[in-house]
Each structure stands twice: as C-alpha cells, then as structure tokens.
C-alpha cells in the first residue's frame, strides 16, 4: 500500500484529458465522435463568420491594412452615428426596462385585478414584429397621414402634434417593442423570491423601506441588469424600427447605416469599412453578452435556492389597482391594439385613407386576394414556411444535443461548447448576414448564396444561442442517475437518449421550436441583407412593399397575416413556457428551474 502511494499520487495522463476517453465522461466511442462533429459544426457556423468580419476590417487589395479604422476615426459622420446609436439604444432600453420592472412588480407582487389576463396581454405584443409596429405607428402618428394627428388637428386645429419620423419617435416605438422582453426576463425573479427572506429582514428589525433597500433590490438587481444588458445589446444593432422610422428623415443609427451602405456598394472592398465599423460594435456587444451571461447566473443563484411552492406576500394597492390596470391597458393599446387596428384598416383599403365614413364604403377583401395571388408573395410565403420549419426543428434538435454534450463532457470541452453556442448572442444579425455573404461568395463550392438556404444557415446560427440557454436549463435539471439507471439496465447511448432524455426534456425542445419559429418569422435585418429575388420571405417582402415600392395596402395585408400567425405561435409558446418551468426530477417531485428566458426573445 505504501509503495503504491509513493509510486503515484495523481495520474498525469488524466490532466491531459485521459488518453482513452478524451472528450466526454461517457465511455462510449460514439459520444466522442459526436463531440468532434458538433464542435466542428459550431466552429463552422459561429467562429468562421465572426473571424471573417474582424479580418475583413483589416484587408484592402488583399493586403493587411488599418486604413479602414483610420477612415472611420477621421470621419465626423462616425461620431454622429455612434452618438445617435447610443442615444437611441440607451433611451429605448431605459424605457423598456422601466416599464418591464413596473409591470413585473404589478403582476407578481401586487393584487392587480385580472392577473392572468394582464400577464398574457403584456407578453402578446411580442407577436407584433418591429417593422409592423413602426408601420402601425406611421399610420397613427405621421405628420401627413397619421390618424391620431388628423383626429387631434380636427379637434383642436393647428398643426400636427406628433411626428413619428424623429429620434423621439424611434425611441418611443422601440421602447414599446422591447417591454415584453424585459418583462419576461425580470418577472420570474420577482415571482421566485422567497417571501421568507423579506420576513426574516422584518424580524431582524428592518422596516419596509430598509427591507426594499437592503434585501429586495440587491436580490433583484442581477435580473434587472441582465434584462438591461440583453436589451441594450439588441438595441445597439436593431434595424426594423430605426430603418422604418429613421431612414425616411435621414436619421441613421449603426444598423440602418450598414444596410444603407450595403445597398449602395457594388464591389467587395466596401466590406472593409463595414468590417471595421462592425468590429468596433462587436466589442460592445461582446462585452454586453458576457455581462448578461454573468448576471443571469447571479440571478439564478439568488432566486432558485428553494423549490418549495410558496406564495409571495402580495401588496394591497387598494383603489390604485384600477389606476395600475388602466396603465397596463394603455400600454397594450399603444403596443398592440392601436397599431394592429390601423394596419387592419389599411389592409381592407385599396390606398391609404384616414378613418372616415366615406372610406368605410371602400372596405373590401380585394386587397387580400390581389396581394396573396402575386407570384412573389406566394414565393415569399413558401420560403417562409421552409425557413421557419427547418430552422425551428434544427435549432431544437441541435440545442438538445449540444446541451447534452455540455452536461456530459469534460470541463474544458464543455466550456468550449457552451461558449461557442452562446457566442451568436453577441453577433448582430446584420453582421452575421454580411459575413455569410462574404463567406459564401468566396467559397462557392457550397452553392447557397442567393438561395433561401443561406437564410436558414443565418437563422440557425443566430438562434442556437437562445435554444441552448433553454435546453441547458432543462438538461441540468435532469438528475444524472436517471440516465445512468438506463445504461445499467443495458440501454446503449442512443437508446437512452431516445427513451429517457428526449421524452423528459421534450417540453423544453418544443418550447425552443415554437419561439424560434416565431423569431425567424419576425426577423428582418439578416433576411434583408441576404435577400435575392429567389430568397424573399414574408418579412422582406413587407419591407419591399412598404419602403421601396410604396404599396402600403399590400404591406398591411401581409402584416395582418404575419401578426395572426405570430399570435398563434406566441399563444402556444406561452402555454409551453409555463410547462417547461417545472421539470420533474426524481429527488424533488417538482422543482423550479432557471428561467427559460435566459435566452433572448426578441432580436
């Protein structure tokens, strides 16, 4: 025994990851092959495009250069662009997070009436894509044709009081659009906060204010900061709303500038400038993504300590609860009902007309028939179906496999997988699209450029981050002994995966599939960059009808169709969202898990 001790205290081979079983802690060859395949796939999907963007910023005439960076630094326009983007992003994030926190507090910790209905109606606005929300708001508040404006001018006289084509207008609409996302990220931590913690502060002698200051806020801060970081990250690079509302009045933010530049350029060298500009922004988004990841973990640590089913103590708002309800209704009216009604109204008319009795006579379904029979609309609908189905299934399956490998791999392999799968969160859709164009124009062996498949690749890459966040949470909840029991029973790896793992995390997979389907239907910026006559999808054709061809009624018809489909998706998604919150594990019958909204709902 003593000899054995002297001979070796540790096995040096293991430090380098065990010669026999290099990647995973499962002693089956297949699992190692799988790790290699998935790692290669992630490097191909995520790492190459990212590297390409950064490299392209340093290339000119096939040589290394920093001239693009010099150009950017010496261009005054760059600074106004950065200022615009920061003002836009900060203000809309601030608005969305403030509203989100207020709404989360109202629904989770107060006795606001019709709680379930309120909760659902705060999430439903997710069904309105940014471009349609801004189209709705143009119809409501444009100085020339806005319904609200003409109504108020008719009532009070004078000039139109609202102008939506301004920075303020953009911020307002973007803030409305991001609020449900903020609400979804923050609400679970309000719900799961153990009231005992507050009561313990009370018995320690803290009054209500001190309890809020020293206990409640510090506990909620990580999730509030996480939602802030996530939304700020998206708003730095979002295109839909600044594109629709800012471009007509030449107010540019980063995303609209890139779309504008990309539409004008004819040859590749312009990529240099865009690449350099993108790299600057990538630095920001990357830091934010890491900050977000850190904060969600903190938030998870704080709020998932107990799995007990408890009821948080509710604050009695007394008569103020009707004010609170009115406030929620006001928000829903602005973010969903009014814009949707104006789009609906427009869709029944042959050309833009304000609300009037005369216009009522012109209402008809002709617009629907005309729009939906256009060949390119039919192509777009067909393409959208392909993109949505292929993307959502692939992301659900791939996320499950990746999460399974993350749980079962050796430490460093696991971290590597998790990092690569998380990375797309930091890559704005626009840049990813640019990188893919650059990539597939260079490597023509894979003939996807100009087809709908390049969209599928872009969307899978982007949404894998959201997908793996959700499946990770579910997979970590799965007690390892459940799988081990199946192996012991004689089931090989694949059989165990099929009969034990998949059935148990199926609700999470379905959840991912539904949200990804909704997200890929809403997506505009990447689809727009990758657009060709062949690869039109519904979101890009709406953009074409609205911004380029000026046929608002066509855009409205497709808008109505899109919103209705997304309403269905959101409904199913919400139902599943509640189901995935509780995964049954053998130890505790029901246990809370980390929020499935640790991924992002709205790009």
């Amino acid at each position: 025994m003593c000899d054995a001790l002297k001979r070796r205290d540790t096995n040096p081979l293991k430090f380098f990851g065990q010669i026999n079983w290099p990647f995973t802690n499962i002693k089956v060859r297949e699992s190692h092959i799988l790790v290699v395949v998935i790692l290669a796939l992630l490097v191909y999907l995520v790492f190459f495009p990212l590297a390409l963007i950064i490299i392209s910023g340093f290339v000119f005439d096939e040589g290394f250069t920093v001239r693009h960076y010099v150009d950017i630094y010496s261009d005054a326009r760059t600074y106004s662009l950065i200022t615009n983007t920061l003002v836009f992003a900060t203000s809309s994030t601030f608005m969305a997070v403030t509203l989100g926190v207020i709404f989360a507090w109202l629904t989770e910790r107060t006795n606001i009436p019709f709680k379930t209905a309120v909760r659902i109606s705060l999430i439903i606005p997710l069904a309105v894509p940014g471009i349609l929300l801004s189209i709705g708001w143009v119809l409501l508040a444009s100085p020339r044709i806005g319904v609200l404006n003409s109504f108020l001018v008719g009532l009070l006289g004078g000039t139109a009081p609202f102008d939506i084509f301004t920075m303020e207008g953009m911020i307002f609409v973007q803030g409305l659009s991001f609020t449900p996302t903020a609400f979804l990220i923050v609400a679970p931590s309000f719900r799961r906060m153990d009231p005992l913690l507050e009561e313990a502060a009370g018995t320690s002698g803290a009054n209500m204010f001190e309890t809020l200051r020293y206990i409640v806020l510090p506990l909620l801060l990580p999730s509030i900061l996480a939602s802030g970081a996530a939304i700020f990250l998206i708003s730095l690079v979002v295109f839909d709303i600044p594109g629709t509302l800012g471009m007509p009045s030449r107010i540019f933010v980063f995303a609209s500038e890139i779309v504008d530049a990309a539409q004008e350029m004819e040859q590749l060298p312009a990529y240099g400038r865009i690449g350099a500009l993108s790299s600057v922004f990538l630095f920001f988004t990357f830091s934010l993504a890491i900050f977000y990841n850190y904060m969600t973990r903190r938030a998870g640590k704080y709020t998932t300590i107990t799995g007990k089913g408890y009821r948080p103590k509710l604050i009695d708002l007394r008569n103020w609860k009707y004010v609170a309800l009115a406030f929620v209704i006001f928000y829903v009216a602005l973010a969903l009902i009014l814009p949707f009604l104006t789009i609906l109204w427009t869709s029944f008319l042959p050309y833009l007309q304000p609300l009037s009795f005369r216009a009522l006579q012109n209402l008809s379904f002709d617009g629907y028939v005309e729009t939906l029979t256009l060949p390119r609309v039919q192509l777009a609908l067909w393409n959208t179906l392909i993109v949505v189905v292929v993307t959502s299934t692939t992301v659900a399956v791939l996320s499950t496999i990746i999460s399974w490998l993350i749980v079962h791999s050796h430490r460093y392999v696991s971290r590597c997988l998790d990092f690569l799968a998380f990375l797309p969160l930091a890559i704005p859709h626009l840049m990813l699209a640019l990188a893919l164009i650059y990539f597939y124009l260079t490597i023509r062996i894979i003939p996807v450029y100009g087809t709908v498949w390049i969209l599928v690749i872009a969307f899978i890459t982007t949404f894998i981050a959201f997908g793996t966040r959700t499946t990770n949470a579910a997979m970590f909840q799965l007690h390892s002994e459940l799988e081990e029991a199946a192996w012991i029973s004689g089931a090989p790896l694949l059989r165990t995966f099929k009969e034990i793992v998949v059935p148990l995390i199926f609700p999470a997979m379905l959840n991912v599939a539904i949200w990804v389907a909704a997200l890929s239907m809403r997506e505009l910026s990447a689809a727009l960059m990758l657009r060709s006559s062949e690869s039109l999808v519904v979101s890009t054709i709406i953009w074409e009808f609205w911004a380029e061809d000026s046929v608002p009624s066509h855009a409205a018809v497709l808008g109505v169709v899109t919103i209705l489909i997304l309403l269905v998706f959101t409904g199913i998604g919400l139902y599943l969202y509640d189901r995935t919150l509780t995964v049954r594990s053998p130890k505790k019958k029901r246990s809370n898990i980390i929020s499935p909204v640790s991924g992002l709902k709205s790009p």
Partner: protein, 367 residues
C-alpha cells in the same frame, strides 16, 4: 464472484487530479452481501461506480465471474450497458415519464427477454408492489419509489446487484423496515450484492462482510461481529460504534492474554494470538462495561476492577450514558436504567478481558 485488484481512480479538478480510490483489492464471493462502509469522501461510491462502468479507472483489474470488466493491463473495458449488473441509486432514479410497469420492464425490454410480463409481475411481487403496475411513477411515495428501483434492478437475472446508499433518503422508521426487507430479499434471491453506506448500523444488519474504507483505501475487511467486537484498526474502532480508547503499554504478553499498563492501572486482556503490539490504544465499548455502586455487585471482581466518579450522565430513553472520571481519564459507560441506580457519584466498574482489544497507533497512521 467479483474480484477487484489494485483499483485506482482519480478525478480531474482545476489544476490537477485528486485521487478518490488509491489502490484497493477485495473479493466478493458468489451470493455474498458485501458492504463498503466509510465516511463521505472515502471513495466507496467511486469504487461502486468503477464496478458499474460509470467511472473509468486509472488502473487495476475488475473481474465479474469469468468476465474481465476492466483491466488496465490489456486495456479491456466493457461499457456500462454491456455489464450484467443491476443497481439501486440513492435518488431512486425512477423515470417520471413512465409507469411503474414500464420502469421495471425497461431492462428486460432492452435485453429483448421473453415472458417480460411474468418477470415484471414476479419482481413487483417480490418487493410488495403488486397491483400498482399502472401507477405513474411520480404518484408514488418515497418508499414505493425505492421498491420500484429494487424491482427494476432484479427483474432480469443479473450477476451483481449494487446499492448506492439506497436508504439515505427515507425517513428513519421506513429505513429500518426497508433495511430488513432488503436483507430478506437478498437472501431469498442469493444474488451477489455490493452495498455502499456510511451508516454502520445498516452495514451491520445487512452484510455478510464489511470493508471499512478511509481516504480511498480499505482499512479493514471482516464480518460484522469481527469489525465491531475485534477490530484490527484504530479507525475501524472509532468509526464503527462508540468506543473508549485508553493509551497503554503491554507489560507482559502470553499466548492468549496480555497485561496492559495504563493511566488507570493494569488491565488484563484476552487475545486471539500472542500480542505483537508493544504500545497503543486499548479499546472497550461503553456498553460492555458493567458498573455498580457496590463492588460486590460487579459480575467479576477478580481483575480489571476500577473505581471512579460519575461526572455527567444523560438519559436517552433506552439507556443511560455515564461519564466516569478515573484520575485524569474519562470512561464512557452505557447501561440500561435499573433499580440499583443511586445518586452517589462514587462507582465501580469492570473491563471484561474478552471485550478489550489492543490496537496499534502507528499502523493506522499510514493513511
């Protein structure tokens, strides 16, 4: 027969590796109930997982019957799903998406057995769950889930049954009941079993033999009685049961007895062979020390009789724990509450020579 030789296993942690099992050998005979007993972190569960194939040992040989499950010499490794074993987990690991029947049937289904229904019903009957086969697994109580786990492990004829602290999640009454049922079931089936626990009482009741483990090594192997009454290692004496340990030197040793000089005086002990130890600790269990207020009431007054003062006593219901002070030495004595109890602190007690065991200090400090 399960044979383990020179088993090493270490975990990879940040900055290096930590050995969990550091070269252990033992053999479990066919039909034997064998327990690995030790404090948490002693490597007992890791050993079990190595046998199951859930861990990949660094070195060693594991044989089950004629089959080599693992051998670092020729690189043999039979993957977990091809080993003919059954296992009951600490968390029960009942699959929540299946019924009781599906859970129990699973191993038989995977191994494409015939007459699966008969096998499942027999297994359920053995664990006393007949009639519950269509229940969803999540509707069961902890004790019932435990029974399903056992039924699943025995539904096919396995060469080895393994238990990883299966009773630790049950409440104390149920634990005692399941413990007895488990023993009866194992004897009825006669399957070679290996059981991991940190509960010494569980180990005593269930096992044919016990291997006491500490810091990744086996300290001692023996039958429950040997482990408890005649331990060979200081660690075993301390870990299993309560103990009085008194520093002592052998003053004279004969073939089957010895005299030990200690702080409280000379103590005569009985030994199984000539005592080799010169200096060490003398073990006597608190419940083996008779105590009386009158010297004459002691069962044996010829030798090993000492006088001391009660410094504290605590009433635990079944027994009374006394702490006696003799000079500077404290002795723990456990006695049933009986009529002769007096408030006088001055008492006499006797160390029966056959209950005294001399243990070496150095021997156990190799770890």
């Amino acid at each position: 027969m399960l044979k383990i030789q020179g088993l090493w296993n270490s975990y990879v942690v940040e900055g290096g590796t930590v050995p969990a099992v550091r070269g252990i050998d033992f053999t479990v005979e066919t039909g034997e109930f064998y327990t690995l007993l030790g404090p948490s972190g002693c490597g007992k569960s890791t050993t079990l997982r190595c046998i199951a194939g859930l861990e990949d040992p660094d070195e060693g040989v594991i044989n089950l019957g004629d089959e080599v499950l693992f051998s670092s010499e020729n690189g043999a490794f039979i993957p977990v799903h091809q080993r003919n074993i059954g296992m009951v987990f600490q968390s029960y690991a009942i699959w929540p998406h299946m019924t009781v029947y599906d859970n129990v049937e699973f191993p038989a289904k995977i191994k494409r057995m015939s007459d699966r229904k008969g096998k499942v019903m027999r297994a359920l009957e053995l664990v006393g769950l007949s009639g519950l086969e269509n229940r969803s697994a999540t509707e069961l109580s902890g004790g019932q889930q435990q029974r399903v786990a056992i039924a699943r492990a025995i539904v096919v004829d396995v060469g080895l049954l393994m238990f990883d602290e299966p009773l630790s999640n049950l409440d104390s009454k149920l634990r005692l009941q399941m413990r007895d049922e488990l023993r009866q079931l194992q004897q009825k089936l006669g399957i070679t079993s290996i059981y991991v626990t940190h509960d010494q009482e569980e180990a005593m009741v269930l096992s044919d033999r016990i291997a006491v483990m500490k810091d990744g090594l086996i300290v001692e192997i023996g039958k429950p009685r040997e482990i408890y009454l005649r331990p060979k290692r200081l660690f075993t004496a301390q870990f299993v049961g309560q103990s009085n340990l008194i520093d002592g030197k052998i003053s004279s040793a004969k073939a089957l007895s010895a005299k030990v000089s200690t702080a409280i005086g000379e103590i005569t002990i009985k030994t199984e062979e000539q005592c080799e130890i010169k200096e060490g600790m003398l073990l006597i269990r608190p419940e083996h020390v008779p105590m009386a207020w009158n010297k004459e009431d002691l069962p044996d007054t010829n030798s090993n009789v000492f006088e001391g003062n009660i410094v504290s006593q605590s009433f635990t219901g079944k027994l009374v724990d006394y702490t006696i002070k003799v000079g500077n030495q404290f002795i723990e004595i456990q006695m049933p509450l009986h009529n002769t109890h007096q408030n006088d602190p001055n008492v006499f007690f006797h160390f029966p020579p056959e209950r005294c065991v001399m243990l070496s200090k150095e021997e156990t400090q190799t770890l």
